[in-house]
Amino acid sequence: MSNPIMKVDLNGLVLHNPITVASGTFGFGREYAEYVDLNDIGGIMVKGLTLKPRAGNPSPRVAETPMGMLNSVGLQNPGIEYFIEHEIPYLRQFNTAIIANINGTNIEEYCEIAEITSKADVDSLELNISCPNVKAGGLAFGTDPNMVYKVTKAVREASGNKHLIVKLSPNVKDIKEIALAAEEAGADCLSMINTLTGMVIDINSRTPILARGIGGMSGPAVKPVAVRMVYETAGVVKIPIIGMGGISNYKDVVEFMLAGAGAISIGTANFVDPRVTKRVLNDLTSYLKSNNIDNINDIVGKVIR
């Protein structure tokens, strides 16, 4: 059998394969480029960007949890100007989509960074309204449907006709109403899930392990929550979904795509195996071949209920 078609079209954002890497887990690609050929990755969600450079939160910023981890990086990044000047040219050397994860502390800031970034040479904007690790903005925007609508609408307008992904938080009562709000406000695509908020306390020191106390949980532990949310969301929205949360092998990819994800993103698993993206791509291809599936898009949403 010939190679299956891996190309996916996420409502205008075309990826040569459905495997992307999650924002904040892959930097700007430089470090992992020593371990994997970035040309093998469908798209790179770069580290969350802000208008000005940000130093992020104090250390420790990570705590391990059972089959997961908490992080409280707090959007440390060199700022949008630096990104445009130094990181885009680097990433453009590779055949991979550049997806700029953008952040703000209020609607004006979101719009400003959206406007700047939409004019830059990126393939898509990923509007992050779900970062649990910053005081202002972030999660506050992502957990209330009205706010989601407002900020998405504003950013939609500020970003011309650039492809716009809205990244959703799992720390909500009903993911469907959040997703619908983003869709109505003009999102081209959704990505989900960002991290679940959690805490680990060191019983010896009696302090939380994270300097900031609370952080965002990712990794295999959260996968069932993510799959459930993708499934629920795919049932109500018409725009495509990039699924993520705990993916570490091809079976997880198939699971998310069956649940309704048009593409997926790998985050924490990169830390465990820096070559996971390539391994997953190979295994996924073999899986499709041995199941006589000649187009990856044929499995999207095909869970049987």
């Binding site: 130093a55 992020g56 250390s59 990570v62 059972p66 981890m69 440390q76 295999p220 465990v272």
Partner: protein, 260 residues
């Protein structure tokens, strides 16, 4: 392309109730290992616990290298339970290691607790490079360990123990200050607990002596991508969060901001 390795455990030695060593085969295609560099170890093959454990190299041989590990929690315990002949998956060597290009003979090596292990490899390399033994000051809470092996790489080992069980009772800084008072010292290389790093740095600052500190921080990726392992570093007038795994783990004492 870099990769991770499944390495055979060639030997295993228990040094104390808390500390053990494993000797791993060194594959031919592994890059050179610099003292102060470390590896990310998968504690178990079944995927749990999730994250790699950062462990420094404590000795490099022709076809093998040694890691010295303190039992802390489940990860190190699982590594402890591995038997000779079993394999362990490692990422590395990663990090920068000590800066040795301009290393001077009049330097001192300081280690504390499990932190003696990275500086053992440093002592070995410096001895080879200068064909001479460097002064090595080691601090322990109680009973010292691994001294037999360490003494192969320096005949100038001095010991301080908090309990006074052996050597000078007290901290390595006491031993160090003697040296700083009496001799012109170029650099002090240090690895040990946070409080020791800070004490050594402050002491050396007073004598205007350069320090290279091997810093520890909790990690996830180990290669510089995730930004969880930062250390506050002065760059000119600015304070920046640098990555311990990639920009370190060794930093100059003059750069490190201890109280953030």
């Amino acid at each position: 392309m870099k990769k991770t390795y499944d390495l055979k455990i060639m030997d295993r030695e228990v040094l104390s109730q808390e500390v053990f060593k494993i000797l791993l085969e060194k594959p031919a295609d592994m890059p050179e290992i610099i003292p102060g560099q470390f590896f990310g170890l998968k504690a178990d093959d079944n995927g749990y616990p999730l994250l790699r454990r950062p462990i420094s190299v404590s000795r490099v041989d022709a076809n093998s290298f040694e890691l010295t590990i303190k039992l802390v929690g489940q990860g190190t315990e699982l590594i402890y339970n591995k038997k000779i002949g079993e394999t362990i998956n490692v990422l590395g060597p990663v990090g920068n290691g000590f800066y040795l290009e301009e290393a001077k003979k009049n330097s001192i090596i300081v280690g504390g607790g499990i932190g003696i292990s990275p500086v053992k490899e440093l002592a070995r390399v410096l001895k080879n490079k200068f064909n001479d033994d460097f002064p090595v000051l080691l601090g322990f809470r109680d009973e010292p360990f691994d001294l037999e092996d360490f003494s192969l790489y320096s005949s100038k080992i001095e010991i301080a123990t908090e309990s006074g069980i052996t050597g000078t009772k007290g901290y390595v800084t006491t031993l160090l200050e003697e040296h700083l008072k009496e001799n012109e010292i170029d650099t002090v290389y240090v690895c040990g607990p946070h409080v020791m790093l800070k004490a050594v740095k402050l002491l050396c600052d007073r004598y205007n002596v350069t320090t290279q500190l091997l810093m520890e921080e909790r990690m996830a990726c180990g290669i510089g991508a995730c930004l969880v392992c930062t250390c506050a570093i002065k760059e000119g007038t600015e304070i920046k969060n640098k990555r311990v795994c990639k920009d370190g783990p060794v930093f100059y004492g003059s750069e490190v901001v201890f109280d953030v």
